[in-house]
C-alpha cells in the first residue's frame, strides 16, 4: 500500500503534471484549428508552421536583445497577422468554390511546405534553444516542477479562459457562433463576414504563435516542430469534435495524459502511436468527435 502510494506520488504524479502542461499548450494550438474549421470549414494544415513561426520569432527577438516578456506579447500578434494575411490573400478567394474544404486544405498544405523550407533557409536546420525567463524549481509536495513550466500552465489556462470568455460571453463571440451556423444570416444583419473570418484567422493563428513562444524554452525550436505538433493537434481536434471549443480543450488534456501516462509503461514512441490509436477509435465510434460543433450547443 505504501509502495503504491509512493509510486503514485513520485512516478505517476510528476508525469501527470508534465502532461497537464503539454495538454494546455496543445489546447492552444488545437483551439485555433478548431475555430477556423468551425467557422470557415477550412482545415488549416499550415497551423503547425505558424506554431513553429512563433518559436522562431521568439528566438530571433530574444537574439536582437528584446526581453522575453515583450516577445510574449509581440509574437502572437505577429503570427496572428501572418495568419490574417493568409486568410486575406489565399483562403478568401477559394471560399466560394464548391469544394472549398478540399481546395483550402491543399492550399494550406502548400503554405506549410513553403514556411517550413523558408524557416530552414533563415534559421538553418539545427535546433535553436531559447532561454527561459524564469529559473528555479518549485517543490509541490515533494514533486519538483520548474517554475517556468508552472508559468506556462498558468498562461495557457488564462489564454483558454479568455478564448472561452470571448466566444461565449461577448458580442464578438455571439457573432462568431452565429457565423458558424449560418454566415448568410449574419451577413444579412449587415455584419461584414470578411472581418469575422479575418478575425478568426488572426486570433486562431495568434494562439498558435503564443503556444510557440511559451513552449520554445522547454522544447527548443527546430524546423519540423510544427509538423510533429500539428499531427498531435489534429488528433485532439478529431477526438474533441471538429469545430468544438470545449472539445478541443478536453481532448487536448485527455490525449496529453494518454501519451504522458502511457509512456510510463510503454516506450514513448509507442505512447505517441497509442494517441493516434485513440483518435482512430473515436473516429470509428463517433465520427463527429466527442463534442458538437461551435454554435450547435
Amino acid at each position: 500500500m505504501e509502495d503504491l502510494l509512493a509510486y503514485l506520488h513520485f512516478v505517476v504524479l510528476p508525469q501527470f503534471i508534465d502532461a497537464l502542461i503539454i495538454g494546455v499548450a496543445l489546447a492552444l494550438v488545437a483551439l485555433g484549428l478548431t475555430m477556423i474549421f468551425g467557422l470557415l470549414d477550412v482545415i488549416n494544415l499550415a497551423h503547425g508552421e505558424l506554431y513553429m513561426l512563433g518559436g522562431y520569432a521568439a528566438f530571433t527577438l530574444l537574439g536582437w536583445g528584446a526581453g522575453y516578456w515583450s516577445a510574449l506579447v509581440l509574437v502572437p500578434v505577429l503570427v496572428g497577422l501572418v495568419g490574417w494575411a493568409l486568410e486575406e490573400l489565399g483562403i478568401r478567394p477559394l471560399l466560394p468554390r464548391a469544394d472549398r474544404a478540399i481546395v483550402t486544405l491543399l492550399f494550406t498544405f502548400g503554405v506549410s511546405l513553403i514556411f517550413r523550407d523558408i524557416a530552414q533557409v533563415i534559421w538553418g536546420t539545427e535546433t535553436r534553444s531559447v532561454a527561459a525567463p524564469l529559473t528555479g524549481i518549485a517543490n509541490l509536495a515533494q514533486v519538483f516542477v520548474p517554475i517556468y513550466r508552472i508559468f506556462v500552465f498558468g498562461a495557457g489556462v488564462l489564454a483558454i479562459a479568455v478564448t472561452w470568455w470571448l466566444v461565449y460571453r461577448t458580442q464578438i463571440g455571439a457573432v462568431l457562433r452565429a457565423t458558424a451556423v449560418d454566415p448568410s444570416m449574419v451577413a444579412s444583419f449587415g455584419i461584414p463576414i470578411r472581418l469575422v473570418y479575418g478575425f478568426t484567422f488572426l486570433y486562431g493563428c495568434g494562439l498558435a504563435g503564443l503556444a510557440g513562444v511559451l513552449l520554445s524554452p522547454i522544447y527548443a525550436v527546430f524546423p519540423t516542430m510544427g509538423h510533429d505538433f500539428l499531427v498531435m493537434a489534429f488528433a485532439v481536434v478529431i477526438v474533441g469534435g471538429m469545430g468544438s471549443i470545449i472539445g478541443a480543450v478536453v481532448a487536448a488534456l485527455l490525449l496529453a495524459q494518454v501519451q504522458g501516462l502511457a509512456s510510463l509503461w510503454i516506450p514513448p514512441v509507442w505512447a505517441e502511436t497509442l494517441v493516434y490509436g485513440v483518435m482512430l477509435l473515436v473516429l470509428v465510434i463517433r465520427p463527429a468527435g466527442l463534442f458538437n460543433r461551435l454554435g450547435e450547443a
Binding site: 502548400g110 511546405l113 523550407d117 509538423h227 478529431i238 470509428v284
Partner: protein, 352 residues
Amino acid sequence: MLQAQQQAQTTDIESRPAGTVAGRLLRAVRSGGSNSTLLRQIALVSLLLAAIFPLFGGSFFTRLAIEALLFGCIALSVDILLGYAGLLSLGQAAYFGLAAYVAALMYLHVTQSFWLVLLTASASVGVFSFLLGAVAIRAKGVYFALITFGVAEILSKITHNTRAIGGSDGLIGIPVPSIRLLPGLEIEFANNYVFYYLVLGTVCLLYLGTRRILNTAFGSVLRAIRDNSDRVPYLGYNPFWYKLLAYVMAAQIAAFGGLIYPLLRGFVAPHLFGFEVSTKAVVMSLVGGVGTLIGPLMGSVIITFLESVVGSYTERHLILLGIIFIVFVMFLPDGLCGLAQRTFGAGRKVKP
C-alpha cells in the same frame, strides 16, 4: 477545323478491323467520357514520349522515370478516388508503403519469386484496404480525409518504431530478382531499359484498365456520387459498396507502385508511408488534372523530375513544391489537362 480532323481520325480508327490487337488497343484508348478526344490524344503523345525517352535519358534519368511512374501509381489512385468518387484521401501512401514493406520482407526472408511476392502484397493490401475503407467511407467529407491521414500516420509510426522491420533505418539490401514471365522467358530487373519498359507497359495497362472500369455502369455511379452523394440512394444504389470498391481498387494501384519500388531503390523506409508522399500524390494529380487519369501520371513525371533537378541545386525544394501547389490550387484547379482543353479543345468544360 480541329473538330473535323478529330472526326476523320475517329472514323479512321473505327474502319479498322476490330479483331487486331492494335485495333483493340486503340478502341480501349478511345473509350471514355464526353471530353475524351483530347485526353486520348494527350495520352497517346505522352506514351510516345515515354517510349522514346530512354534513348535520350541515360541510365540516371531512366531510373528516375521509373520512379516517376511508380509514384504516378499513387497519383492515379488518388485521382480515382478524388476525381471519380469525390473522396480526398490523404493517406494513399499507406498502400504504397505497405506493399513496399511486404515485398521487401518477402524478398529478404521468404522467396525470390516475383509472382508470389505480387500475390502476397496484393492480398495484404486488399484485406487492409477493405477493412479500412469500410470504416473510413462511413465518415463524411473531411472526416474521410482525416481518417486516411491518421491511419497512414500510424503505419508510418509503427514501422518507424519496430526494430524487427528495420525501425527508422528501414530495410536495405533487397535483392533484385528476375521475373519468369513465361516458361523459358526470364526478365532481368538489373537492366535499366528492360525495367523501364516493363514498368511503362504495366502502368499503361493499369491506366487503360482503370479507364475501362470507370467507363462502365459502375463508373457512372461513382461520378453521380461525386456530384451529389446524398441523392444516389434514392435512385436505388447503395453508395457504400461503390465507394468501397473504388477504394479497394485504388489501393491496389498504389500497391503496384510500392511493390516495384524496393526493386528500383534496393531499400524501403518509413517515409514511404508518410504524409509527404501522400500529399505529393495529391499535388501530382492536381497538376496534371483531377479526373483525367492521364493527368496524374503526367503530373508525377513533372513533379518527380522537377524535384530531382531542383534538388541537385538546393535542398530547399519544398518551397518550389509549395509554390506549384498554391498556383495550381488557386489559378489552375483543373490542371494541365484542363489548360490544354481550354486552349485546344472546343466544347465542354472539364469537370472539376
